[in-house]
């Protein structure tokens, strides 16, 4: 029994750090978009700072997981739980990087008039923030349904991505002098879409932790669905 008590308490530490990492990522995405929309350079700087914290949390969680693997030799559900955490933090860390990249553009775009039809970008941000939250929540609560729901949310993100892209193409055609700014917005559009994909990856690792089967493996062999 004492073995499990130690394992559970170490895993609890991983959970706590994951939740913390998730919080920082949520506000990083929120802030980078706000910085972009409101041309707020100070807010963009805050995103850089949270990125440093996110990176540190990734290393801390990674260290805890490796320690659990080495000291506790977890098997079965425990093993999957720890491996899933190890995989998830890579996606979380990448999401943090993408928020930072968006903050970069927010700084570069500073001043000047905003491109029209921008309302879709904050809309995407709202969805991906919820996706990241749901991914981590699904892991902590072992909630299979929530983990699987990320796929549907991602479809919405992809849809918005296409709308924004079409808008930007139309804009470049109409106002060629705005092409440079439009391309930067296109990059932001792409980063948000990638964040959605990373959140989907997280959901898949949660599904693996819970069921023992990684959904991508099945999908690939079954009908070649699944993106990328």
């Amino acid at each position: 029994m004492s073995i499990r008590v130690r394992y559970e308490s170490e895993l609890k530490g991983v959970f706590d750090n994951l939740v913390l990492m998730c919080r920082h990522i949520e506000s990083a995405i929120e802030n980078c978009i706000k910085a972009l929309m409101e041309q707020d350079i100070e807010l963009a700087k805050e995103v850089y700072e949270s990125d440093i914290i996110i990176d540190r949390l990734e290393r801390d969680i990674e260290h805890s997981c490796l320690k659990i693997l080495m000291m506790e030799h977890p098997v079965a559900g425990d093993f999957r739980e720890v491996s899933a955490a190890l995989k998830m933090i890579t996606d979380l860390e990448r999401i943090g990087d993408q928020a930072k990249d968006i903050a970069d553009f927010a700084t570069q775009l500073g001043g000047g008039k905003a491109v029209s039809k921008l309302e879709h970008i904050p809309q995407m941000a709202t969805i991906v923030i919820q996706m990241v939250k749901d991914g981590v929540q699904a892991y902590i609560n072992r909630d299979l349904e929530l983990a699987r729901s990320l796929d549907t949310a991602d479809d919405k993100v992809d849809e918005l991505f296409c709308i924004v892209m079409a808008d930007l193409i139309a804009l470049i055609k109409k106002y060629p002098e705005d092409a440079e700014r439009a391309i930067m917005y296109m990059m932001i559009n792409k980063y948000l879409e990638r964040i959605g994909d990373h959140a989907v990856n997280i959901g898949e690792w949660v599904e693996y932790a819970i069921t023992g089967v990684h959904p991508k493996k099945i999908r690939k062999t079954a009908n070649g669905k699944g993106k990328k």
Partner: protein
């Protein structure tokens, strides 16, 4: 290929039922591990694979034990069976004679008298058991002068000397240090190319390291049997999960 095929096996020691409706296939050139809490019948089942239980009074067995399709509890020569199916026990049990004689013992019993032939068998068995280099210069010394880990490998050499097809090992490394354990695990990995190996172990890491298939026992029943990687990452039965993750026992 299937080496052993057991179906509906039941075993009693007097009126105590130690195995209940055991069904399992054991494949050639693979390592099959038996795991489970103390007293669940692992040793009982492994011993029944070469009829070591015959010696125990009050022991009664029913069901089918096919070895290469032939029932080992049917009309067969038990000595022949023991030659085909060797056994290594938890505690090394070398005979109180020289290292050489320990290994030559089996072949001699089976009628090999020719000196050069015996020399060859002794050397090959000791090499296969990864202990040749440590004892080539002291073959005439008493086997009891070897360390515990060396004695265990000597016992493996002794089991190999009669060219068995199957090697049964009941907790072969439980009394050994990590280095000797590592040597024996490497050895098992080597040996499976030629033999069918069944091992009882209480060490979960050992089971995951060396076995291809794992059977989980509980109170005389096989609760789950499957590919080792699958059983340890995604067990189908909750009792298996609870046991291997240390939730009980």
């Amino acid at each position: 290929m299937t080496k052993y095929s057991l179906s509906s096996v039941n075993l009693w020691y007097h009126d105590f039922q130690a195995l209940t409706d055991v069904n399992i296939d054991i494949d050639n050139n693979e390592v099959t591990a038996f795991i489970g809490p103390s007293g669940c019948g692992k040793s009982t089942l492994i011993k029944s694979l070469n009829r070591m239980n015959d010696l125990i009074e009050g022991c009664r067995i029913t069901g089918e034990f096919l070895l290469d399709g032939e029932d080992i509890y049917g009309n067969i020569d038990v000595n022949m069976l023991r030659k085909r199916v060797g056994m290594v026990f938890q505690k090394p049990n070398p005979f109180p004679m020289s290292i050489y004689d320990n290994v030559a013992f089996g072949p001699r019993t089976h009628g090999i008298k020719n000196r050069t032939e015996l020399d060859e068998i002794v050397e090959k068995s000791l090499r296969d058991a990864a202990i040749w280099d440590e004892c080539r210069d002291r073959l005439r010394k008493s086997a009891l002068s070897l360390s515990g880990g060396q004695q265990q490998r000597l016992c493996i050499a002794r089991a190999l000397s009669v060219a068995p097809e199957v090697l049964l090992m009941d907790e072969p490394t439980s009394a050994l240090d990590p280095i000797s354990t590592g040597k024996i695990e490497d050895l098992i990995n080597e040996l499976k190319r030629e033999y069918t190996i069944v091992i009882v172990t209480h060490n979960m890491q050992q089971a995951t390291r060396i076995s291809d298939k794992t059977a989980f026992f509980l109170l005389g029943e096989i609760i789950e049997v499957g590919r080792t990687e699958e059983l340890f990452t995604n067990p189908k039965n909750e009792k298996t999960e609870n046991y291997i993750t240390g939730r009980f026992g």
